[in-house]
Amino acid sequence: MSETQATPAMALGGAAFNGLISIREAAPQAMIALRGDLASIEVKNAATGVTGLDMPGPRGANWVGDRAILWMSPDELLILCPYDEADSALAGMAGCLDGRHALVTDMSDARSSFDLRGAGLRDVLAKLTPADMSRTGLPVGELRRSRLAQTPAAFWLKSETSAQIICFRSVAQYVFDLLKTAAQPGSAVAFFDR
């Protein structure tokens, strides 16, 4: 059969909510986990070559548009790029790594992602994560891997009014429900506004 591939289904079909901040399930994005020696030239080339971005330092997030390199751990990066570029990115990275011990895996479908916009997003996140959500605790451009209530998640601020959350696909509904409640009207804390 030569049926063309349909677009991938999103876990929540692009759910959105407007409250203290706006929350939107982000469109599918290629997410490629790269494990290896981050100091090696091959691993660096694999990450930067695909994205055109610099290597981030520990806990760093470098991004432009829908491409990003996220520092996940001392031996792991998460590479983001457009969803339909996943296969070519995988192949390109495999080429860069030629022979070096590393692991490149496609995680695009394993994750769901939410875009948060609005002035109160530090407050909303602080209701759900034990991480320090202050400007010094989590500066713009730093990735925090933590938990949102009872589930693991990674998030970073792209600006003071824009953030992205990445969680497991299976708990997308749970995370969305948490965010909706945390952003319900009348629940402003204004702790980080000052």
């Binding site: 806990r59 996940m72 751990s73 792991e76 034990p130 891997r145 933590s146 938990r147 693991p152």
Partner: protein, 101 residues
């Protein structure tokens, strides 16, 4: 509720972001070991009142296992360090000695 600094990603993590892994610096005894050694490896633990070397995983974070030296009575933490060592590093020993002098 404790906070421990993950030596891998540098996060001062909340206890709820970590999972505990029991006593550190155990020596594995496999096939060929004596019954006594193997028994101790499986079951004998220090359970100290005082300085305890212990394993933690930054489970809701970078996923790495690390080790901590912590007083089980006062909860003072003398330091955390990567798991790829056979015994506590010198700077941890120094911190412990310093507190006990």
């Amino acid at each position: 509720m404790l906070t421990l600094k993950c030596p891998y990603c540098g996060i001062q993590a909340d206890e709820t972001e970590l999972s505990p892994g029991g006593e550190a610096h155990l020596t594995r005894h496999g096939p060929g070991s004596s019954d006594g050694d193997f028994h101790d490896y499986l079951f004998a633990r220090q359970n100290r009142r005082g300085v305890h070397f212990e394993r933690w995983r930054h489970a809701f974070g970078c996923g790495k296992w690390f080790l901590a030296a912590r007083d089980t009575q006062t909860l003072q933490v003398f330091g955390t360090y990567p798991a790829q060592v056979l015994e506590p590093p010198q700077h941890i020993r120094d911190a412990i000695n310093q507190s006990q002098n």
